[in-house]
């Protein structure tokens, strides 16, 4: 493989990482509050508002039911309006964010709903406001589960970035399609696949490690 191609692989890897990182960040900023809302606005919960809950739930479901490649193409006008172009890594971040935000919302919702309702009752008995319950009880207690959920979302995003490659995004997916497939360069294809696998492994391992750091539920030998 020529030095040129290696440079290309390196650049594509960085582009993928960039798209994944920014989309995760934006997706969490949008999906996080949505997830908290979904988890706490059911009837009888902290911010009980069943109608709003149902509406947001429907929107989230709708967004999640569109196959990513269709979504990416369908929102090209929107992407162009936001970024000024529909091509390149920055443009790819728009559909990636829109795809991952509802996914993150559902993951965070389910993590929060796993928190023992007894803890909410205990916090209420202390005179906590709903906002305090979210900040001091629900989010910290759900954190290991949220981290694992975000890990899952990041792994999915790595897959999505490969798809944006087909519609003018950049990154490893683009490289694999243009060189590996269209120019029939199996070594490039193989390199793309291996880098992707390694990337997913690292993300998964790191996610599990961070989640375990947060998790105080398993008794450990803490010396003495």
């Amino acid at each position: 493989m020529s030095a040129n191609l290696i440079q290309l692989l390196w650049d594509s890897t960085l582009q993928t990482l960039y798209m994944v990182a920014i989309a995760t960040l934006l997706g969490t900023l949008i999906g996080g509050p949505l997830g908290i809302f979904l988890a706490t606005s059911r009837r009888g919960e902290l911010y009980s508002s069943p109608i709003a809950n149902t509406v947001v739930g429907l929107v989230v479901n709708a967004a999640r039911s569109i196959p990513f490649i269709i979504l990416a193409v369908a929102i090209i006008p929107f992407t162009r309006w936001i970024v000024g172009t529909a091509i390149g890594t920055s443009a790819a971040i728009v559909p990636l964010t829109i795809a991952v935000a509802p996914f993150i919302a559902r993951l965070i919702e389910s993590s929060i709903r796993e928190v023992d309702s007894g803890l909410i009752e205990a916090a209420r008995s202390m005179g906590a406001t709903p906002a305090q319950i979210v900040r001091k009880v629900l989010l910290p207690e759900a954190m290991p589960s949220i981290v694992l959920g975000l890990t899952l979302a990041i792994v999915s995003l790595i897959g999505f970035t490969a798809m944006v490659g087909t519609i003018g995004g950049k990154g490893l997916g683009d490289l694999g399609i243009r060189y590996g497939y269209q120019r029939f360069m199996p070594d490039v294809m193989l390199a793309v696949v291996i880098i992707t696998i390694v990337m997913v492994q690292i993300v998964q391992t790191l996610g599990e490690w961070i989640a375990a750091r947060f998790d105080k539920r398993a008794p450990r030998n803490r010396g003495r």
């Binding site: 007894g118 009752e121 202390m126 906590a128 910290p140 539920r217």
Partner: protein, 349 residues
């Protein structure tokens, strides 16, 4: 009796059901005063409504009608901000502890102070003081998963006391603990009650808990209080069948099975034995009354079961005896005259 710390005034709680079926009535017209500085036990079976009643005190449940007055505030009508202020004066401990798994012992105890907006400089000495009070100095940095059940409940108690409440609510706090640990936790609650003058309202399905620390007791069944008063009075003279069934096994005695199986409500012949439960209370609890019964009336007494124990530091004796049916009336009159309580349970031939 001192002024009531908590007063339930005609409290009813209905849960509306789906169309067609009537409301479920969890509590019906509850009138109960919980005296200041006392340890009051509410005892009832699961589903009797005791949990709903307890949660009315800190507004986790609201009455459908009636009033709940806590430290002079009407809890049912408090707006959210007022309710939060009331809750800081009412600590609560739970059967399953409800500790935050991701917070250390120290941070769990600090939580109510953080919630109350106490500044961090003042949180530290208070938390350390509480950790010492419940004897967990060694465990301050540990997490709940690393603690035993008894230690977890100690954390729960320290946490409940953090904001200096005047009332402590206990929701089956010892039901998940083994008997030894239960005794230790109850002893701690008793100490706190004495030293801090804290009013404790606890719910339980175990009469032994009430016997060990309750100065007052209320028995609840099907959403109604069937009997209430000072523990000693209720235990020594239970009026209601539910109370009696709770007391069986707690105040020592039950009719042995081989007798119970043969017992009939009415005597079948004059030679029958009458089974009588004799309760010795107060100053008479230790008098040798049966010996006197035999010596002075010549009535032979057949002891079937018995026990003497302490309730609220006062001796309490209970005996089940067989008396000749022909002499029962006379013997009972003699015993009642000397301040004992008797009750005919049945007859055996």
């Amino acid at each position: 009796m001192a002024e009531a710390a908590i007063s339930f005034q005609g409290v009813t709680r209905r849960y509306p059901q789906k169309k067609g079926s009537g409301d479920v009535i969890a509590l019906q017209d509850i009138w109960l005063d919980v005296p200041q500085g006392a340890v009051t036990g509410i005892i009832g079976r699961s589903g009797a409504g005791k949990s709903t009643l307890l949660r009315m005190v800190n507004g986790l449940e609201r009455p459908s009608s009636g009033k709940v007055i806590v430290n002079g505030h009407n809890v049912g009508e408090a707006d959210p901000a007022a309710l939060r202020a009331i809750r800081r004066e009412v600590g609560m401990i739970f059967q399953h502890f409800n500790l935050l798994a991701m917070r250390s012992v120290y941070d769990n105890i600090a939580l109510p102070l953080e919630i109350a907006g106490v500044d961090s400089a003042r949180i530290k000495p208070r938390v350390n003081e509480l950790i010492e009070l419940v004897g967990l100095t060694q465990q301050a940095a540990r997490y709940p998963a690393e603690l035993s059940g008894g230690q977890k409940q100690r954390v729960g108690i320290a946490r409940a006391l953090a904001t200096n409440p005047r009332v402590l609510l206990s929701d089956e706090a010892t039901s998940a603990l083994d008997p030894d640990t239960t005794r230790q936790v109850l002893a701690l609650l008793k100490d706190i009650n004495r030293e801090l003058g804290l009013t404790i309202l606890l719910i339980t399905h175990e009469m032994a808990v009430v016997r060990d620390i309750g100065t007052h007791v209320a028995v609840i069944e099907n959403g109604q209080i069937v009997e209430s008063g000072e523990t000693y009075d209720v235990f020594s003279r239970p009026q209601h069948a539910t109370t009696r069934s709770f007391l069986t096994g707690v105040t020592g005695v039950a009719v042995p099975h081989f007798i119970a199986d043969r017992m009939t409500a009415e005597p079948r012949s004059a030679d029958d034995e009458t089974v009588v439960q004799i309760t010795f209370v107060g100053p008479h609890a230790t008098d040798p009354m049966l010996a006197r019964l035999t010596a002075e009336l010549g009535v032979s007494v057949n002891i079937m079961a018995g026990a003497i124990e302490e309730i609220g530091d006062k001796p309490f004796g209970s005996l089940i005896v067989g008396l000749p049916a022909s002499r029962t009336a006379e013997a009972r009159a003699f015993l009642e005259q000397h301040g004992l309580f008797t009750e005919v349970l049945g007859h055996v031939s």
